[in-house]
């Protein structure tokens, strides 16, 4: 079995609005020309509790936040991105 990429930051079950977080990172000077990707085990949630616009499903521990290179391979975010991710609160 081949698993998903294990690069990036473990979001540890954090609620994330991915587009909002990308804007927060770019505002901090972290260039993300190829955007952000959040991949990994997700917490199945109640179908009646749909995510808000721009909010991705709550990720379980082990889910990874990363970007990609020019060939589409997952790569780590710069180290300074960790604090911004930690401070992120979906609007």
């Amino acid at each position: 079995m081949t698993s998903a990429p294990q690069v990036g930051i473990d979001v540890e079950g954090r609620r994330i609005a991915l587009a909002q977080l990308q804007a927060e990172l770019e505002a901090a000077g972290i260039a993300l020309p190829r955007g952000l990707t959040l991949s990994g085990p997700a917490e199945p949630h109640d179908p009646m509790l749909m995510p808000t616009p721009n909010e991705v499903p709550v990720q379980a521990a082990g889910s990874r936040l990363y970007t990609i290179d020019d060939q589409g391979n997952p790569i780590d975010l710069p180290p300074e991105a960790a604090a911004i991710v930690e401070a992120h609160v979906p609007a």
Partner: protein, 442 residues
Amino acid sequence: MSRQQVINYGITDASVSSSKIAGQLPTPLSVGQAPQSNVMFAVSGAVTSGIATQGAFEVNPVFPATTTTRALLFEGGIATAAASFTVPDARVFSALAPTLGAGSAITNMMALYVGNMGAAGVANAYGVYVAPQSGASGANIGIYNGGSMQVQGAIGMGQGPMAWWGLYVGGTYTNNSGGPGELGGIAIGGTLATNYNNDVIAALYISPTFQDNGHTGVAHYAIHSPTTAPSVFAGPITINNTLSVNGTLQGITGGPYTTDWFRCSTSGQGLYNSAQGVGISFDSTGPTVYGGSGGKLISTTMTGLVSTAMIAANAAQQFLSGYQGTPGFSTTTTGQWLQTAMVFSFTSTGGTLRIELNATAAHSVAGGAWYVGIGCDSVSPSIYIYGSTQLANNWSPISLVFYWAPGAGSHTVYGVVYNASAGTFTLASVGYASLWVTEQKR
């Protein structure tokens, strides 16, 4: 007026009819030789008649009408004195080996010749009639032949001979031995020995010449057993010609890997019923069943006869591997095929692979476009579908099937996505997503 002359009890003129001749003569007596003390009456010497047919004794009496019980030409028996002794060998008649004079020869030498006893007025003719022998402490045998025997006519055992049976065993043969054993009409035992390589030793050899003499419908059998009693052969039977079975041919014990099973020695041979045109043949590819036009067996001309239960597990298709879960994948990356959590490797045996993907996807922007596909040994998809989310975060179900024939070996399949619009593309964890690979074995 008669004349007689008696000298030393010898008779020189037998034409006399004196009462002295008709009475009892003292023994020993002899003809042609001196009397011998151990023989009551001896005949020897040369026959000198000069006639082509000559003999020692010729007896041709005529029995009168008063012979109403039995006519006897010669009758005699051994009697012994009342004393304790044993005669090792007693013979009523004893034929000795001939003694041929120098230069003489005999064409047919017979110890006993019996002419035809049958004639008009004779009810039953027997050349030699032997009464049943019994009472002896040892053997009780009617005729003992220490050498060979030739019988030109038919032989009847237990009954009179029948001209159309060379040897007919009739009568009744009963086991009176006091315990169970084996008995029957004809038994072949003894020892059959050879002094040569490649010899054929047969306990019973059957090779007659059949002559129909112009008649039709004549059946020829080497062995014909009209009885329904079974035949048992403890040894193997070799059939060098056609084996025709009008009844049932069945194995008694064993299976396909024992010598008890029915066997064919030529590829393509098997079992065939000519009446129904059905059969089973066997060659290097295995058994082939011919059902004919009306048979119920499986054949290449029949369809719909193989039930699901007859197909072995994995004979038609086999599940190889798969993913089922909540992939939890979101990305703001656009214009790039991306690998998701739906990815796994497997090993196939070379059959065509059926790959099925099911998921639910949404885009955070109304009108956001995206693609979801299946990558085969690559993130670049082999097949994909296009979607556009008309309302922000409105989920769309996705279903994809792709057939792939990569050949045997280890392979990887990927569930891949492509975000075509600015915003966040998400594979839903509201429900499960799945990615399956099944190998088609047929």
